[in-house]
């Protein structure tokens, strides 16, 4: 298990769509390395694929019928939106950034 640097943090922040600013890049690099140091204890555990198919919970997957049911009224759902247009959430341009 490896340690991470400022460049890694910038990359991860990009993946998480998180603006952390120049000031905090070093701060988070340090903080994450502290945790990575701690979780090294898991190095003792053997790495295998045995868990990929195993469910941790007795319930397993829960399925339901695909039935039409009433859901939240759209006016209610839109009530906390920063910006809306008719029955839609309005956002800044998605294309052509």
């Amino acid at each position: 298990m490896s340690m991470i640097n400022n460049k890694d943090i910038e990359y991860i922040a990009g993946l998480a769509r998180l603006d952390i600013g120049e000031r905090d890049i070093q701060l988070f690099t340090r903080k994450l390395n502290t945790i990575l140091e701690y979780v090294k204890i898991l190095d003792e555990i053997e790495k295998d694929e045995s868990l990929l198919s195993a469910s941790l919970f007795p319930a397993g997957n829960v399925f339901r019928e695909d039935e039409l049911k009433p859901s939240m009224d759209s006016e209610k759902a839109l009530s906390s939106a920063a910006e809306r247009e008719g029955k839609f959430f309005r956002v800044p341009g998605v294309m052509g950034e």
Partner: protein, 484 residues
């Protein structure tokens, strides 16, 4: 003694006997809030108006007129639900969580929304974006967290009971620090619909109360299948008040050695061991056992909870609700600048979670953490083939002073005794078992097999009777001068 110092079962009797009205009850709690809240700061929002209008409509049910406080990460229709975050500072949800609906159906009165560490991430409630909460037993100290506001509200007589959420100990640790009862039920016992998700495979709504009887009463109202939460269990829950009996004879209790051998406050160890001896004197069989997987628990918890948080908190993007940065030139800038409003601790977990799930790291971290989780769960289940319950301290120390633990990561180490129950999904309760030399409460944790909350209640109720520890109520800044 003011009505605000009574337990829920005492208040139920007074209401049923028409000795007090719901209005008198609410007035008593509000008056006490007026007196102590400035110092304790348990609430982000006090819902006096809603509470009064509900009482005017006339209330019926098992909790008619009982004032209940709710952690501010549980959705309340028409009442601000902030998660103690700038992101949701002005958010008013358009729906009630299932637990809120159930409380209302039984006539409970929601008295306010409690402070927490932002998005339930933290262990002292100092990490709220708004203000810290203080421990009512001694206000120089933290109430614990993340449900610190809920624990403080009950301990200070600002609510008769409260709801919190427990992802790694966030109900049991503050209950222990504040000297009250805190239950994290089995994963699936209580619907999580309407709980702002932190780590979905670990999160569970929990209960704060003054004594074990109140826990059983609230559990009866809150448990049950909910089609809106696909992880809620389809099962008939018993009447949990049937387990309020003084009976330890034949109860086999295991003490996992690892819970007592780690670096911890010797006063806490002493206090818990003394309580264990009393369980033994009362007829329980006590045996020391090994739980070797515990050494990986905190690391596994950290990886799994952060990974799930990074995914869950992606929903705070400024589109449908919550804060939006308004002058963005494009959608990505809007996401990035809106999410900048998260506090440092939340950002740290999102970043760590994103890292452990990223390509090439997943196998090294997430997969190993899941393996550790599975092994620990199996080890615990094996212990329950031979023993009825596991007992341990709830936390390695009593409450610490505000500002004393600067590094949030160091603070998270206080979860060492609580996270195993979340990783394995089992129920666990913390009840007060004494005080340390500074007069700060110590909590003992009792854990049981999946869906055996009744057994926990029976053991906790018996121990509570043996110890005779009664809620001393609010004592403010001068608590250390009073005898608990």
């Amino acid at each position: 003694m003011g009505l605000y110092n009574y337990t829920i079962h005492q208040l139920q009797e007074l209401i049923a006997g028409k000795e007090v009205t719901a209005k008198e009850l609410l007035d008593s709690f509000l008056e006490n809030i007026e007196n102590v809240e400035e110092e304790v700061k348990a609430y982000i929002t006090i819902t006096e108006g809603e509470a009064r209008s509900r009482i005017e409509q006339g209330l019926q049910g098992k909790l008619a007129g009982i004032p209940i406080a709710v952690k501010d990460n549980i959705s309340t229709e028409g009442i601000k639900t902030t998660c103690a975050s700038r992101i949701l500072e002005d958010y008013v949800p358009p729906f009630d969580a299932t637990v809120i609906r159930r409380l209302k159906e039984e006539g409970a009165v929601i008295i306010g929304k409690n402070n927490l560490d932002e998005f339930a991430m933290g262990s002292s409630t100092e990490n709220s974006a708004f203000f810290p909460t203080r421990n009512p037993r001694n206000t120089d100290y933290v109430p614990g967290g993340s449900s610190g506001g809920s624990a403080a509200a009950v301990a200070a007589g600002e609510a008769a009971g409260a709801l919190g959420s427990d992802t790694g100990g966030s109900v049991r640790q503050p209950a222990s620090f504040c000297g009250i009862v805190g239950l994290k039920p089995t994963y699936g016992s209580i619907s999580r619909y309407g709980l702002a998700a932190f780590a979905s495979s670990l999160d569970q709504i929990g209960i704060f109360s003054r004594d074990v009887e109140d826990t059983a009463i609230l559990l009866n109202v809150l448990t049950g299948y909910d089609p809106l939460d696909s992880t809620s269990a389809k099962l008939q829950h018993p009447d949990y008040t049937d387990f309020l009996k003084d009976e330890l004879e034949g109860m086999k209790i295991a003490l996992p050695e690892e819970y007592f051998s780690v670096d911890m406050d010797p006063e806490v160890r002493e206090c818990v061991i003394t309580a264990v001896r009393k369980l033994e004197e009362a007829g329980a069989e006590i045996e020391e056992v090994r739980l070797s997987g515990l050494k990986y628990a905190l690391a596994a918890y950290y990886i799994i909870s952060s990974a799930e948080a990074s995914s869950n908190l992606a929903r705070y993007d400024g589109v449908r609700y919550g804060y939006r940065f308004s002058n963005a030139r494009g959608i990505n800038e809007m996401y990035e600048k809106s999410r900048k409003e998260f506090g440092d601790e939340v950002k740290r977990r999102i970043l760590f979670g994103t890292y452990v799930l990223s390509s090439g790291k997943y196998e090294d971290y997430y997969l190993k953490a899941q393996k550790a989780r599975k092994q620990l769960t199996e080890e615990i289940q094996n212990l329950f083939r031979e023993y009825h319950l596991l007992v341990s301290p709830a936390t390695p120390t009593t409450a610490f002073k505000l500002g004393a633990v600067k590094d949030p990561f160091e603070m998270d180490q206080t979860g060492i005794f609580t996270v195993a129950a979340n990783l394995s999904g089992i129920p666990a309760i913390s009840i007060p078992c004494g005080v340390d030399s500074r007069n700060l409460p110590v909590g003992i944790q009792i854990m049981g097999p999946h869906f055996q909350e009744g057994r926990l209640i029976q053991a906790a109720y018996s121990l509570e009777n043996i110890l005779g520890f009664k809620d001393p109520g609010y004592c403010g800044r001068y608590c250390h001068e009073q005898k608990l």
